[in-house]
Symmetry: C2
Subunit: 766 residues, 2 copies
């Protein structure tokens, strides 16, 4: 699993960056953000030794070994990989051990899918061996299934629902079609997988099929594996369909670690388990089903790349599907490796990547996991030379991410209190490929990410990975067909300041840390030039595929280990945590601006719609041969009280400016704080992110506590910023919008208060 962030987005006005950026590669060592001149020299020397210890052939060897067998939860080879990881970290000088949890984890016993009318066709539901892909002949992987769908045996008419997103159901309704009592077939893409069956279920479907359309995911993208890297006709995307936007982790133990004796819900009580069966299928299996459909021709943007006319159904095609699973608990093996901090042992810098894969998982997740191992080995060498981190390092190899962030969530829940009082950073990665830097997370670390990435060399061009990304953003904004967002990002990139990092939704193991515990978080990887999406969650996500199509020579694996390693080392070694806050204020100001636009846009749209309905315009405009009904009338949209947020933004700008000024002044003066001041200041900084959480959590999903970043209830992996307010407006919960405006503003004001406190510590020095 991983929601790949395609690129860094926009922004920031800082003028301090340029110096650091330009200095990279210059004669005298650059001044590293967070370090004095003398410290910078030491830190850079350390990083050079770290870099020298990274070896692509290590990555190659580990990947080949770890991806040589099936790695799903409970697979023997996955357990062996856990033991290997533990043993290696121990060998490298870390205190490493395996921590076990016991979540509910249904595994497939059998499933079947067939067209029973108008002709008979039995779906293969199998991924056969492929020439040149050594592990594709293995049989220890699980068949293609969607974990946490229900068991069931249903026969019903088929309806094509496009991506199966909320707007698609509106389009269907306007064509007089519903899925009540029917089986919905959705294509992968646009929204998160798990929303497709969830929405089908909400609309009354009795079953759901999800297929990979070759337009997005097959020959429409490029040559298919093994000629190229894209999805072959029999390739299937497995994946979780647990309702993770409500809560991730073990469905039976929300909020607490799934230890042996934890109190558990019954399966019936678990809100995140679906009630209808779901089967993921290949485009070879989907084509006969879709070709059999009658009913209206699908709207233009619903049509994929199969050589058929896409119809919506229902009618003609009747389908039988059945799923039967083993609903027992399975053990999880998280590997946790630590090095105690020499100076601030109670300040933890945590870094994780999952280890379980849907089958072999060469790219997802092992390509990121081996980078993390390389960091662990290199840090071990530094240790052996006598160096010690000032802060405690915690490296984690998570199990069970694929079914629902199980390993990370259960560990985070089990250790919540300690983590909230100690963690200064959780840094996550997942699969890693050839391409461009992609970073997201807490905007207080935006400048650090820019500072670090301007010092990491891109293996294909020789400039820094930050400079390459800057060039890419500018070119993307210039090329024909650039979107407004592309143009905006290009303008910011051209301005020369920091590049923006993305806000995080979900899709990997950062979620429990950031959104449940309120820990400062980053997600960092390289992506954008590989063809590994073509084998995502399939039998063909193999070593052979990865070394040809993912990151030949593991050069971006080295770049990733350098980028992450430098981030970790700087967070571990800087006296004052290297954070800058102006970007956060600017970013939140942008989000609040979006809320105003959202509300105004919805209000105007409702009025315009009402006018068209009053005039009967939809009826007049419709083609009687292909009737499209009028949309439903929208309720009037009130004006919301966004003033608390506007005021909070004003305060944020002042408080962040004050902190950044005081911090810069202190660093420019090469002054030092007393140990007590340092402790107090770092304690304040550690707690900044938590200020943005509220114990009441988000509406209807109180596991999610963060009021600035959350996965969308109807976007899944995709982020919703200021989610309490934004989703309330989107979902027409008018009162809730006003209520969360106040709550979110209060969180932002608490953030200001903590930051002002930190600023006072800095100013006390002067």
């Amino acid at each position: 699993m991983v929601a790949r962030v395609r690129r860094l987005a926009v922004f920031v006005l800082s003028t301090f960056t340029c110096a650091a950026s330009l200095a990279a590669g210059a004669d005298r060592p650059p001044l590293l953000f967070g370090f004095s001149a003398a410290e910078s020299a030491t830190e850079q020397a350390l990083e050079h030794r770290f870099d020298a210890a990274l070896n692509p052939s290590d990555l190659d060897g580990w990947l080949k070994n770890m991806a040589s067998g099936a790695n799903h939860v409970g697979a023997p080879h996955n357990k062996a990989n856990a033991e290997l990881t533990r043993d290696l970290f121990q060998k490298w000088g870390w205190d490493a051990k395996i921590e076990e949890f016991y979540p509910l984890y249904p595994t497939l016993k059998s499933h079947t899918l067939e067209l029973v009318e108008p002709t008979k066709f039995v779906a293969a539901l199998k991924e056969p061996p492929v020439e040149g892909d050594a592990t594709s002949t293995r049989t220890d992987g699980m068949g293609p299934y969607n974990v946490y769908g229900a068991d069931g045996d249903v026969t019903a008419e088929l309806v094509y629902v496009n991506y199966g997103m909320p707007d698609d159901y509106k389009d269907l309704a306007r064509r007089g079609i519903d899925v009540k009592g029917k089986i919905a077939i959705a294509r992968y893409g646009v929204g998160w997988r798990g929303l497709k069956p969830k929405l089908a279920q909400m609309h009354g479907a009795v079953g759901c099929l999800i297929y990979s359309d070759p337009q997005q995911d097959g020959y429409g993208q490029g040559d298919v594996w093994p000629k190229g890297g894209w999805r072959p006709k029999d390739g299937v995307q497995r994946g979780s369909v647990a309702d993770m936007p409500v809560y991730p982790g073990d469905p039976l133990t929300p909020g607490v670690g799934a230890t042996k004796d934890a109190k558990r819900l019954s399966i019936a009580e678990a809100k995140t388990i679906l009630k209808i069966p779901v089967i993921p299928i290949s485009y070879a299996d989907a084509q006969p089903l879709l070709a059999a459909l009658t009913g209206p021709v699908a709207p233009p943007h619903w049509r994929g790349a199969l050589p058929i006319t896409y119809h919506l159904g229902p009618g003609n095609a009747k389908v039988h599907m059945a799923v039967n699973s083993d609903w027992s608990q399975k053990p999880l093996y998280d590997v946790i490796a630590k090095i105690p901090g020499a100076q601030f042992p109670d300040e933890w810098v945590i870094r994780g990547n999952h280890r379980d894969g849907w089958v072999f998982g060469a790219e997802d997740p092992l390509s990121g996991h081996v980078d993390m191992m390389a960091e662990g080995k290199a840090i071990g060498q530094l240790l052996k030379s006598g160096w010690k981190p000032k802060r405690t390092l915690v490296y984690a190899s998570w199990d069970g991410e694929e079914p629902g962030l199980l390993g990370s969530t259960e560990w985070a829940e089990a250790h919540a209190k300690e983590l909230q009082s100690k963690a200064v950073l959780y840094l996550n990665s997942d699969g890693n490929d050839r391409g461009f830097l992609s970073a997201g997370g807490s905007h207080s670390l935006q400048h650090l990410v820019n500072d670090v990435s301007s010092g990491v060399t891109d293996p294909q061009t020789g400039v820094s990975t930050q400079a390459r990304l800057r060039a890419k953003l500018q070119v993307d904004g210039f090329e024909k067909g650039a979107s407004d967002d592309d143009k905006k990002a290009a303008k910011v990139a051209a301005a020369g300041g920091d590049l923006n990092i993305d806000a995080l939704g979900s899709g990997s193991d950062f979620t429990p840390f950031l959104q449940h515990l309120g820990i400062t978080t980053l997600q960092v990887g390289y992506t954008g030039e590989s063809e590994t999406e073509g084998v995502y969650h399939s039998n063909y996500d193999s070593y052979d595929h990865y070394v040809r199509n993912g990151d030949p020579g593991f050069v971006y694996g080295i770049a990733e280990a350098q980028t992450v390693g430098h981030l970790i080392l700087r967070m571990a070694n800087a006296d004052i945590l290297p954070m800058r806050f102006g970007a956060f204020a600017e970013t939140v100001a942008g989000y609040v601006g979006e809320l105003h636009e959202l509300a105004d846009g919805k209000r105007e749209k409702a009025v315009a719609l009402g006018k068209l309905l009053d005039e009967g315009a939809f009826k007049l405009a419709a083609d009687p041969k292909r009737p499209v009904l009028a949309p439903e009338r929208e309720p009037e949209v009130p004006h919301f009280n966004l003033a608390p947020l506007d005021n909070a933004v004003d305060s944020l700008k002042k408080s962040t400016q004050a902190y950044d000024d005081a911090y810069n002044k202190l660093m420019a003066g090469q002054a030092k704080l007393t140990p007590a001041q340092l402790k107090e200041l770092n304690g304040d900084l550690r707690e900044m992110e938590a200020a943005l959480t509220d114990p009441r959590g988000l509406p209807g999903r109180d596991w999610f506590k963060h009021l600035v970043y959350a996965p969308g209830l109807y976007t899944g992996y995709g982020v919703k910023t200021l989610p309490g307010v934004r989703e309330a407006i989107e979902e027409k919960h008018w009162d809730e919008a006003n209520q969360y405006s106040v709550m979110t503003a209060a969180a932002l004001m608490a953030y200001c208060d903590r930051l002002d406190k930190a600023t006072n510590v800095l100013l006390a020095r002067h």
Copy 2:
């Protein structure tokens, strides 16, 4: 042939319209634009009698008969149709005769296309019979070919060039690919057919194939014929590839009628004949060729709906193609039918539709031709009841439109002087289908079109066809995915004033009248809800297809005959030609605004590109595995002298306002002009459009004299407004842009002068 105008576009602020629009269907007869209250009642009664004489079964019978045999130039059945048309018009009381011309018209003797490497595949180049399509079994039609391509026999590597438009060649160049010495394969769509081989030839290709991709033109649009109406796998789009943006008509007699003894160019001298062979093919024939290509994967927007990965080539696929034609002259049979005007016999209202088709031509052109016949019959009945038009009516059934507007162009050239001194309108139609009003032409007639269409009932909804179009524009602008243009048009439609008519490019027989002779012109039809595009220029454009997919029941045929008939009758009967000019001023103001934006945009883009090139951004951003080179540096874009145009727009606004005010005042007063004043005024009005022409014509194509509307040199059918200036800026002919700015402004000032003269006649009355 017909460049279907998908919808009326934007605009107009008039408040006079509303009265007329709302009055349609009200109790007392509406005040018709151009007529006093008393005249309105008479005119409306006349139109009611006209309407009552229209009979769908006439249309059905004529279409079935006329589409029962092949109708290309020189086909016996096409000649028989000419005779039928002449005879019927004579029977209806018209003075009708056939006028012959003798253009060069190559016909196919043989052609062949085969893949010779890496495997052998021989293209069928045939359209087999289809169940339920009676004429599809006939063999009197010509095989699929592109007329005015060269003969030739070449074997070369294949390169896929997307739509084969200028930007596509830039995309190819950035991938290091050219077509020199190769055969280009382009898909139909985006730009006019003839530009594809022309541009391939300009880039050094030795041959060109044009195929119908199922994405735009086949199963990607809907069920294919005979299940639905869309293009079946063997369907081929024939069509002309003469270089008509240089001049249409007989390639050997530009500017003069191709009479028997006209002076002719040699074939080698004819600028509009290609030098390379071209073959149009089906998607069944195209798929093996495209599937054989290697080379880079085509960019995303280049990929169609065939179940393959689209590659650019060259490499792997080698193709042999040969074309052999009979290069003789063939006779054209234009039918010209007249009714002399009782009051202004030297003021001609001309109306035409072509009669020749690529095979049977049921939709294109006969569906429009039978509507024109229904008008002719109905007018004949009015005549027999004693009515006579004040102005002379001229109805024309054109031959040879498909190969290059031959019949209309030769006739217009042969009678140029008389037409320029007599024609007050040329009104054209072509194929007609179920759907929405689509009108284009001289903006001085925009209000008349709105006035007439607000009085024609839409057969599917019962509101006026203008009201239905207004609803459609509003809905299109509201729906998800609406373009900025859609939104703009919706806003104008919502405002309630006149809907804008389109500017005309080319693609049907209006071109010689509007753009060569400077005659006030309209093109009117219904379109947008049929599936006839799926059989465009193929063996399947049949009666059987049309009555199922074109206009079942011929109800839009009746709407078309009413709309056109009312326009003709009002132009024929109004004492003062019913023209209003404000819309023209507003429209030209918009075009001049676009020129400013075009120049500024190009200037900024050249600067931005230069900066990115200087920084090496394209090199950094490119994927080394799929390299995309930097675009070529653009020359600096100077500031152009558009001031003459800005000044002309100011004058236009004043002059048009003055005329419209004076005209409205006169009509409101129910005052009458003397016969001499009327003659003078109508003479001025008749000459308005000609003021917009310049004898020097457009750069490099002096046959095109109009300085406001022209087909684009690189868009073909697509219009370029203010073409002398716009294309000079686009093509980087900086001096020419300034030169044509002055020339075009002078034409607009001449327009003002003539209009001021007309205004003085009106004012003299008061």
